[in-house]
């Protein structure tokens, strides 16, 4: 898929101290670099190598992806709602391209 697009689902509202579930999905081919095209030429490696989620500047979750992760990687993780603010999700590609998405949360 040519178009790379992140999707994020996180609660808009939560109570203080509540465990919230966050889901993050990105459309990405995750080319391992081990495949060849129809002419026998190697397809260059193109992977998301790193993902992180920052909650008001604090990293609450990060992951390094290695070569056999499937295309369109989907993540689910949990964190504790502490204060109102922003969740920033960042995907970093091998080439250095960065895709990011922001969502807001209100903690009562």
């Amino acid at each position: 898929m040519a178009i790379i697009k992140p999707r994020v689902k996180s609660p808009k509202k939560a109570e203080k101290g509540e465990v919230i579930e966050i889901k993050a999905l990105i459309s990405h081919p995750m080319e391992s670099g081990n495949r060849k095209d129809k002419k026998g030429q190697p397809i260059p490696k193109n992977m998301i190598k790193h993902f992180k989620c920052e909650y008001n500047g604090v990293v609450v979750f990060e992951i390094d992806f290695l070569s056999s992760t499937s295309a369109n990687p989907f993540l689910t993780f949990k964190t504790v709602a502490t204060e109102s603010g922003e969740l920033v999700f960042t995907w970093t590609e091998d080439s250095g391209n960065v895709y990011s998405k922001t969502s807001k949360i209100t903690v009562e």
Binding site: I3, K9, F61, I63, L66, S67, S68, N72, T76, T79
Partner: protein, 280 residues
């Protein structure tokens, strides 16, 4: 403030890394599974009960389909929505120029396809209908079969019919196509000498190597197939099946496959549209 720092390295394999699920791995034995079935609409249907392909998949695959966010096919649907509103071609129109809100105008449309088209003079399916609109009304270039754009717009249009029972017409001018489709379904082919019916009528619910055979209904297409790591059309699935029995497949969008699609849709008349579904 609770600062949880999770650094995970060395995650290899895993089709989908669902960390929360890693701690709650449960196995469901095949015997316990009860499949939801319904009576076919037509008394001529060779199947006593019709069962959606969804029922033959594992609970984890079903869970992916049940949640519109987890369902990776919705990445295509999102792109399809953009294409719906994109003006293209010499006529300066987008899909939305004529059909405005897809949620209303496209509701139930795909459930009646493949359908006989007076303009085309033959039975055409959803993909061909979209391309016809593009070339005739928008004066734009037809999408290439199986291209990301074609899949995206088809998924977007089809998903508007989600939950609407499939109901294709097989009488009148569609009759010849329908009968040809039926013939193709029961025709043995390839080095393995198998017809569609040998697997999907005689042996559904049994394993063929590691994969469980379904009744081969078309209500979930276009489908996100985990094996493909992407969305694919019914004709891609047909080609895969044909290659598996060592037969030479027909082309994408060939009349043979459209006829077969019509016959399959009729077999599943009454099943709700599930597209975009998730299958393995």
């Amino acid at each position: 403030m609770n600062k949880t720092l999770l650094k995970i390295t060395g995650v290899s394999s895993a089709v989908f890394i669902t960390l929360s699920a890693m701690f709650a791995l449960t196995t469901v034995s095949a015997e316990e599974v009860k499949r939801k079935s319904q009576k076919p609409l037509s008394a001529d249907n060779p199947l006593d009960e019709i069962i959606s392909g969804y029922e033959f998949r594992s609970s984890r695959t079903q869970a992916l389909q049940d949640d519109d966010f987890e369902n990776p096919a919705f990445l295509w649907v999102d792109n399809g929505e953009e294409l719906w509103n994109t003006v293209e071609g010499a006529a300066g129109k987008s899909c939305a120029s004529c059909h405005s809100d897809a949620e209303k105008s496209m509701n139930g449309v795909s459930a009646s396809y493949p359908k006989y088209s007076e303009q085309a003079g033959k039975v055409i399916n959803t993909e061909q209908r979209i391309n016809k609109c593009r070339t005739d009304n928008m004066k734009a270039k037809a999408y290439k079969w199986e291209s990301p754009d074609m899949l995206a717009i088809t998924a977007y249009v089809t998903t508007q019919s989600k939950g609407v029972p499939v109901n294709v017409k097989t009488d009148g001018k569609a009759k010849a196509s329908f009968e040809n489709g039926e013939k193709l379904f029961y025709q043995r082919r390839g080095q393995l000498d198998l017809a569609c019916s040998n697997c999907h009528e005689d042996n559904y619910g049994s394993y063929i190597r590691a994969d469980m055979l379904s009744q081969g209904h078309s209500n979930g297409f276009p489908t996100y197939r985990l094996k493909w790591q992407g969305l694919g059309s019914l004709h891609r699935r047909f080609r895969g099946c044909n290659k598996n029995v060592r037969a030479t497949p027909y082309g994408f969008g060939s009349q043979e496959y459209v006829d077969l699609e019509l016959y399959l849709a009729w077999r599943g008349n009454g099943l709700p549209v599930e597209s975009p579904s998730v299958r393995n």
